[in-house]
Amino acid sequence: MTALSLPIVFFWASTLLAIVAVILLFLLRPPVLQALVSSNVVWKQVIRVSQALNDRWRWWLSLLLATLIILLLLFAIYRPDLSEGEGRNKVILVIDNSPTMAARMSNGMSRLDMAKNLAQDFLSELPGDRTVLIVDTQRSVAIPEFTNIALAKTILDDIEIGTSLNPVVPSKVSREVAEHRFVFTDGVLLGTPPDTYETVSVFEPISNVGITHVDFALVPGNPGERQAFVELKNAGFEPRVVELDLNSEAGESLKRKIEIKAGEKIGQILNISSFSSGAVRVSVTSSQDGFRFDDKVFDYLSSKKEIKVLLISQNSADDKVLKLLELMPRVDVQVIDALAYSSAVADELESDLLLFNRVVPESRPNRPTVIFGVKPAKWLPVQVTDAMSTQVEVVKNSAHPLMQNVSLRDLIVEGGVVFGGASDVIVPFLTSKSEGPLAVTQGGVNPIILFGFDTETSNIELLADFPILLANLLTWMGDEPAIIRAPPGIIAIPGGAVRVNGMDGEEYPTWTVADQTYFNAIEAGLYTITTEDGPLRVAVSQGAERFSDVNQSRISRVVAADLTAPNLSRGFSLAVILCLLAFGLLVLDWTLFHRRVTQ
């Protein structure tokens, strides 16, 4: 028996009890006193007079009762619906299938299963002439429409947990007029449903410890070491001892036992220098955990390889770029002059990156290239113009990876070029007088960065943020691209994707809308996007504090056992009730009036 069916059963039980009570009262009525009188002649006169008025009332009341009974019988036969207007016979059920509805309750069922069961029971009790609109808060029901009950049950069965942390009751549905409107929810992510809806709560507090954030970074001051930052949240009401576990794709593992107080959020830093690059799974294990979706987070640890830089400079002796490169721990720098570069066979150069200072090669190199002090050349992807002012103010593109933590505010350029005439390049910074870009970058398999000035004609070597610019430059060109972290759902892919693969190699379909490519990451995991510029990693996880807070319900009812179905009165129930009432009145009338009252 479910909460929804209880009132109906209670109603019928009450009716049966009432009928039994009336019968018993009739059977147990006190015996009537018999009195022998000389004659009833005078009594008859008295009764005739006294009953004259009563008879008139009795006649009218009997007429009224008879009319009422006839009307109620008609109600019972034709089951008229007293509600009027557009929403007549319509029922809207909104099922909250936001991620927190996956929380498992004490009875072993998830909140969503409980909601679906309650809704199924409700649909089973509905009269057959009702039309039902089933809709979810994750928009998995693409085109909600009123259907018959059987189809509604099927739609209801198909509803599964969604991934969006921002569930909504679709505005079209919330405006829809209906006879009954219910929202089955736990009230955590959905919050308070619209006022026009009655809420059926499936919320029950559970125990949950989840991962709310994961990040990997180099150890400050020691770029050779790497560490992981993991944030955990105990959303339950009791302290827990949990086991945090990091596993790499190559088999490295790291475990740590942690005690978390109720409601506490703690951060953990773990040294993962020994981990190989690749996918990393972070998981947390705790006893009696009722919500498993935030117990596991996938991320990607980018490669920590050494970058071989070949510096081609006309005068390498006092080259400050060289000195800076030599100071960088991951950089193995070699220096050659322009002549040596020209005579060398390009494929035999052992370098990951070519850095030209005041030198422009005769043809485009076949590897990532940086050129300071560009001069016109045929192979350049942009046009070069000698229009450089002696003093420029730089306007930077902060979104460009090169410009991360770089200001270039005091840059002075005494001579150089500006670029123009190309559409497939990105401008990291340009002059403020709109003379054109001072630098451009072009992605691809062999990216290229062009600076319109060099270290001789500018003070860039002397700027405090030049090392950072250089590091960003090496990272952008030499390292793997930064991974994208996103919750499950539809994810936009930067650039054009060739294909998207999951952890098990399964290929996911992509689609393009308005020059933007998307794919649907239906579950947490690590996805690899193959683009024209190379592979891109997307770590999809549900690690978020709002997601782990499965007990933050905004609905007052908190115990599933106390669930009471709303007033699910059906269209004909009023007629049934009134019919039974009329029957009761008829019984009372017969018992009290015809059997006892003065004739």
């Binding site: 006193l33 004659s39 005078v42 007079v49 006892r596």
Partner: protein
């Protein structure tokens, strides 16, 4: 002497005489005025003398004055038939039979007085007809038989006045005094019931016997009222209002009966079984000028 009348009470009745409002039609000598002239004491008229008339009644003073023989006529005193009807229907059993006892006592009183006055007294017990009858008797010595008759009566049946009167008087009875003792609890209108008696010109004296349980019944709540004569039952919820209405209706009922007899020029005496019967009877009879 009898369960109905004590010696002392009979002695009080010895000096009573029945008074009738109209001259009687008796054939034997009695103590009531009759329409016939003869050897009475009360002067009635004159008429011319005819041969054969009793010369003792000649008015000699007139003869001396007018020289004509004129005979003085005197009213002759005669007896009268007294028909005493006693209601012996089941309704008379109420008040523990008190109503029927009162009826029998009253019948005994009037029989005694009638017999003392040399009237011809007939007794008839009736319900839906004459159940038992004691034919007319004269003389005080018939009192024993009368009392035995009355003592032997048992109530039964339902009341039906009209049938009783039609059958009893249909055979032709000398006009006389009809004494009717009953509780008058019948549905049939009295006008219809007493029509035969009116037609035959009888003088009627009605005695209405009532009991306290009829005047003010001590009942209440849900009651099934069972008619003692017809056994017809009636479910009633007796409220104080209904009881008050009954009491008023019963008074109206009694008044209507009394009014009927008064309008007809007949005597009416109501006796409650709770009253002191002997005093109530003697006073009532004198008040109604039935006895002197």
């Amino acid at each position: 002497m009898s369960s109905l009348l004590s010696k002392e009470f009979l002695r009080r009745l010895d000096g009573l005489t029945l008074l009738l409002r109209r001259p009687v039609s008796g054939h034997l000598r009695g103590q009531h005025r009759s329409k016939r002239t003869g050897g009475g004491m009360i002067f009635s008229d004159y008429r011319p003398y005819s041969p054969g008339d009793d010369v003792r009644n000649l008015d000699w003073a007139t003869y001396m004055r007018l020289d004509r023989l004129v005979l003085r006529l005197f009213e002759e005193e005669a007896d009268t038939p007294i028909y005493i009807f006693i209601d012996s229907s089941n309704s008379m059993l109420q008040a523990d039979g008190g109503k029927f006892l009162v009826a029998k006592k009253l019948a005994a009183i009037l029989s005694y007085i009638g017999l003392l006055n040399h009237d011809r007294v007939s007794l008839a017990a009736f319900s839906d007809g004459v159940v038992r009858e004691l034919p007319g008797r004269r003389g005080k010595n018939q009192m024993w038989r009368t009392l035995h008759f009355l003592e032997a009566l048992k109530p039964s049946g339902i009341t039906n006045y009209a049938d009783t009167f039609k059958r009893y008087f249909g055979g032709g009875r000398t006009r006389g005094l009809v004494v009717f003792i009953s509780d008058f609890l019948q549905q049939e209108p009295l006008e219809l019931s007493f029509k035969p008696i009116k037609q035959y010109g009888h003088e009627v004296f009605a005695s209405h016997v009532i009991s306290p349980s009829e005047v003010s019944p001590e009942l209440g709540g849900e009651v099934v009222l069972v008619d003692s004569e017809t056994n017809e039952s009636m479910n009633v919820h007796l409220t104080e209002t209904l009881l008050r209405q009954y009491r008023e209706a019963f008074v109206d009922h009694c008044s209507s009966i009394e009014n009927f007899f008064r309008r007809s020029g007949w005597g009416y005496l109501r006796i409650n079984t709770d009253d002191n019967f002997e005093e109530a009877a003697l006073i009532g009879l004198k008040k109604e000028r039935l006895t002197l």
